[in-house]
Symmetry: C2
Subunit: 131 residues, 2 copies
DNA sequence: GATGGTGCTTCCATCTACTGGAAGGTCAAG
DNA sequence: CTTGACCTTCCAGTAGATGGAAGCACCATC
């Protein structure tokens, strides 16, 4: 299977698939004309990667998760630790974003949004943090 | 005032302040020895930038917000539009993260986390999306 | 066999917002 | 005069792709 077909089937852009090969996440074969040739196992890995990336795992996490996936003697604790760490990061990010959202939504709701210059959003941004 | 003092006062790393000058967000003066010399207006701008960045505005948004801030004949509608657009992006990101979090938390809670290889997290990642 | 269109290849640059580090000049204290 | 804390510039690297150029490969048609 050529990269175009794989891209359609996996939902990943061809560019991304080449990139994943570049960084050693997959190693498709090559046919005589130099084209990449993807096996079912490559497709499978790409699906795994796509799913893990969709859950927000970093590329390095994905690499480790794939290694664990292929290791029949893995301990599920190792997988769980990666996932739990990631969950913590997501929670931290969520808390940060929620804080931003609250402040910003408040400011937006206070701004008239007309053609006059007075603006509570700018006023807030210009606030000296010491006061 | 030298960059070290400004860094302490603004809470921004000196590196970041130099970077902000590099991309034209501030233009401190220079003293005879080549050191940057910051005026109150520079400090004020850096505080504005720090606050805007803390609210998640992109550098380009910050640039536009600063321009509006300095434009006495601005319309608050222009500020509000930037902030509302940003709020929408935050909401989109929040929704995405919450979805990730829900899926991930569920998987983590289902994983025994022991020394056996069976792992619902890996099982989920390996799921063929067509089924 | 020439041509055209699509698909594949590599390589290099670009994006965001910094951050790290090297090499070297400056300044105040002792 | 030396030491140490500052300051300077410049270059490289981070994450995870993405855009684009230049150039083969392949297939269908005329």
């Amino acid at each position: 299977m050529n990269i175009g077909d794989v891209a359609r089937r996996s939902g990943l852009p061809a560019k991304t698939i080449r990139y994943y090969e570049d960084i050693g996440l997959i190693t498709p074969l090559r046919s005589a004309n130099g084209y990449r040739t993807f096996r079912d196992s490559d497709l499978h890995k790409l699906a795994f990667l796509g799913r893990a990336r969709a859950l927000g795992f970093s590329i390095e996490d994905c690499r480790n998760l794939m290694t664990l996936y292929e290791d029949q003697s893995r301990a599920s604790a190792d997988v769980k630790r990666i996932a739990s760490d990631h969950l913590e990061k997501i929670d931290a990010k969520l808390a940060e974003l929620q804080q931003m959202r609250a402040t910003l939504a408040n400011l937006v709701s206070c701004c008239a949004g007309d053609n006059r210059p007075d603006c509570p959003i700018l006023a807030d941004l210009a606030t000296d943090p010491e006061h």
